[in-house]
Subunit: 351 residues, 2 copies
Amino acid sequence: MLAQRIKKLKPYVPGEQPRDRTYIKLNTNENPYPPSPRIAPYLKSFDIEKLRLYPDPLFTALRQAIATRYGIDKAQVFVGNGSDEVLAFAFYAFFDSTAGTLLFPEFSYSFYPVYCDLYGIEYRKVPLNRDFSINISAYLQDASCGVVFPNPNAPTGLLLSIETVTRLMEQYPEDRVVVIDEAYIDFGGQSAVCLIDRFKNLLVTRTFSKSMSLAALRLGFAMGDEDLIKALFAVKDSFNSYPADLLAQQIGEIAVKDTEYYAGITQKIMESREVLSDQLRHMGWDVLPSQANFILTGKRGLSGEAVYTRLKENGILVRHFNIEGIQDFVRITIGTDEEIQALMEAIRRLF
Amino acid sequence: MLAQRIKKLKPYVPGEQPRDRTYIKLNTNENPYPPSPRIAPYLKSFDIEKLRLYPDPLFTALRQAIATRYGIDKAQVFVGNGSDEVLAFAFYAFFDSTAGTLLFPEFSYSFYPVYCDLYGIEYRKVPLNRDFSINISAYLQDASCGVVFPNPNAPTGLLLSIETVTRLMEQYPEDRVVVIDEAYIDFGGQSAVCLIDRFKNLLVTRTFSKSMSLAALRLGFAMGDEDLIKALFAVKDSFNSYPADLLAQQIGEIAVKDTEYYAGITQKIMESREVLSDQLRHMGWDVLPSQANFILTGKRGLSGEAVYTRLKENGILVRHFNIEGIQDFVRITIGTDEEIQALMEAIRRLF
């Protein structure tokens, strides 16, 4: 009864969201702090009568708020149901195997190959440098139909500087699209959004789930040239006219405008990341230099799976990947001070 | 810069959602009454800290509430971001041109051909009977890879009885999927959900946007055999792990459980539909016998476009379709008593 195409799918497996007990949850890169306090009064006074009408399919107010925040035009902004949906639309719109092979880093967001299988896009995983950084020259060497990578990369946390990104864009064919997935850019990186006027083939994607602490809301966006944004709208309007609901659009707008609150919690997370990284290094753990809200870390002689399993038994969830090359690491989300303290105590006790 | 596949898209155009002035809005089949009053206290006491974590990717509580309501098992329920997304996943999962041509009614939900273009599915529109009813024998005559139709149909409003649906299922090949899109079933029809245990190839889709008065929330679901539901999860997990946000899942759960409130407003809408239909017929308008929350109506000598345009000038939005065979009609959503009175006064004055 199933279509042929579904037999090729290898669905993405998100990090565990167990409901059986309360864990210290450091496995899905959620923000340990609550979202903007301005959201509570909005919800308290929300008139439920408004729920009976369809939301704005053009996301006008939210796109305007994003455009104002980043100093671009509303026509350069697209909104979707999480950056996962935005990425899914971008893969459909821009990547086409008849024009070449899609390239992305070997260790990267594991949803990319899933989208490729969904749409029948051929891809090649490009090895990282030995220090786990992205080797941009490898993306220029053969004919590709496009490039996608997270910056900072996940699960490594390593950042490409804006100078390096600019160099890639200068050398990459201007008729193929480069998607930079900036889910974690707010934790210490400089965004490539400053390049979208210069490079019409650059699409930058973002999420409200990490630095904005709104993972429950499912909201993401993309910024790029108006023609790229129009293409994303064409895909959206061929799939679901209204992927972002009214509450999500309005809460997103409130959050985007509350820059002061978010600067504070983001700063705190970056400081905690450095404290945690230092503590682990002092205990002999390898910690990649992260510019994200997580670290990739491991200790010689301990498998990632062993670290994951023993921490889970002790009520702490982290993420490990059974993938050769990173199987000796775990990815740990930066939590609150209390969570980090509990983690460190467990690590000292267990390993 | 665009993929070949995007050039074939002819995106769906939803009914207008104008923001320039306040209209009496009878064009997108929204519910004129507010959703369950139990939603307001939920939002008032909602703890925004919960927004920082990803929502349940399995929609466990909402699926259980739906299963309980319809007397089925949770494993027979899928949830998505509006029934549009659920339908998009179903088209991907079940309809495959290598197995034949997809069949749906000539006048029907205009998103169906859009999904076909999105995934490259060949389709054939099957003519309606002269009275605009669906001719089920036409769906049995040639090799098809599946069938999809709304019941009641839109924009006609005509209902297929459960006996007719059963006859179709009995005669249709059991290795091809039949999708019945029951967006409007609560307004007087009997659901085919009672048949999903007997026919493993039957998928019934539903929306919270019409009878549940939650169009702003973007929530839909499907009911069918566990194997069909698993296939929908595989597509979902290859596209977006969490398409229904936390607020939508929890508000949906509240709404599904408030059967008493919804029975009341649904009854009122059905009564208003009969009143409006009678008034129009008395004035010489043709009104198809609707079992939905809208009517398809027209008057000999007046084009649908003329009716639409003159009503819009007078602050009333209805929908017309520039499609041969129904271009002489307008589709009018059933509003409140006051809205219907204003509509009737305008029609008496203008035509």
